[in-house]
């Protein structure tokens, strides 16, 4: 059986969807403003815009995708759904942050045999990020 949220939800006005929609628009525009319209440091911009992205992803999952909904009387299905998505998010974060760290943290300690051309590109990349 569906849990109470599902039961109440399919009657009347879809407030949950409307609130989710409005919030996602607000978060999108606010992220754009933080990224392009403020003088915050790069680190803060990244923290804020990625914070908003995860918040907005959570909104989609909760407001639109009904991730907490159960198809059986026990809470088993919602627990499996939420657990699986959280684990996938963990895997995603490890893959992305891990890869970026592995491929960029060692930049200063390059093999001396590297061609100068690669070094130039390196500097260019460094320059870009400031």
């Amino acid at each position: 059986m569906a849990n109470k949220t599902a039961v109440n939800e399919h009657h009347g006005f879809p407030w949950k969807h409307l609130i989710g929609f409005v919030l996602s628009i607000v978060l999108t525009l606010f992220a754009l403003w933080v990224a392009l319209g403020t003088d915050l440091s790069l680190t803060w911009i990244l923290i804020i815009i990625f914070g908003f992205a995860f918040l907005q992803a959570a909104l989609q999952l909760l407001m639109f995708m009904h991730v907490t909904e159960n198809s059986t009387k026990s809470n088993l299905t919602s627990r499996v759904q939420i657990g699986n998505i959280l684990f996938a998010a963990f895997v995603a974060i490890v893959i992305v942050i891990g890869s970026v760290w592995v491929m960029t943290a060692g930049h200063a300690k390059h093999d001396k045999h590297d061609e100068p051309k690669t070094e130039n590109q390196e500097n260019h990349g460094e320059h870009e990020s400031h």
Partner: protein, 206 residues
């Protein structure tokens, strides 16, 4: 067996058959794998984002207007897709088909602007082989676009089935699963919006 089960009359149709429940749960597991798939593409893109060789920088070509149009089309389509499922749960087939058709229209609009943007980038000298950064960009964003394209065909076929057979436990589970897929594509886009476009523009201008 499934037919003898007793149900709370409020249980949504898509959860009433065993196969419907299992398919929905299974689709959530599939979405977990999709998250991992996109994570690898995001990782590749973010590692290579400064490797622009002789081509233009990513942030140099990104345009706020085109980005916002695409983002709002997809965000709105996710909302209308949610409304379609809401109508389905009220047994309103007409409402379901109407909102899903609007969703598909917005999805097509998204694809149109995405293709226009890709053509613009290629015109400006940034194609899939220009540099590692642009390869990473086109593979990541293109994979998302391919998912949207597939979603449009899939939703269309499920809607044809609903129009023919009406709302049954089988068809409503299919609609619900396609809705999960569609919302998921919006979730992926949020991260493309942030990690590709916003970051690209911040790094270029900042």
């Amino acid at each position: 067996m499934a037919h003898t089960e007793t149900h709370d009359p409020n249980t949504p149709l898509e959860y009433r058959s065993e196969i419907g429940r299992l398919n929905i749960l299974g689709f959530w597991i599939f979405l977990g794998a999709e998250i991992a798939l996109f994570a690898t593409l995001f990782a590749t893109y973010m590692v290579l984002t400064h490797r622009i060789a002789d081509g233009p920088a990513l942030g140099e070509l990104f345009e706020v207007k085109s980005l916002l149009i695409q983002t709002f089309l997809l965000l709105t389509s996710s909302f209308t897709c949610g409304l379609a499922v809401h109508e389905m749960r009220r047994q309103n087939v007409k409402g379901l088909i109407t909102w899903m058709a609007i969703t598909l229209g917005l999805g097509l609009g998204f694809l149109y602007f995405e293709i226009q943007e890709f053509l613009h980038f290629i015109h400006e000298g940034a194609n899939i082989g220009t540099s590692a950064a642009w390869s990473g960009f086109f593979v990541l964003v293109g994979t998302h676009g391919a998912h949207v394209t597939f979603g449009i065909f899939w939703v269309t076929m499920v809607l044809i089935q609903v129009a023919k057979r009406g709302l049954t436990p089988a068809t409503s589970a299919k609609v619900f699963i396609t809705s999960l897929y569609w919302h998921f594509l919006d979730v992926v886009w949020i991260f493309i919006f942030t990690a590709v476009y916003l970051m690209g523009m911040v790094m270029h201008h900042g």
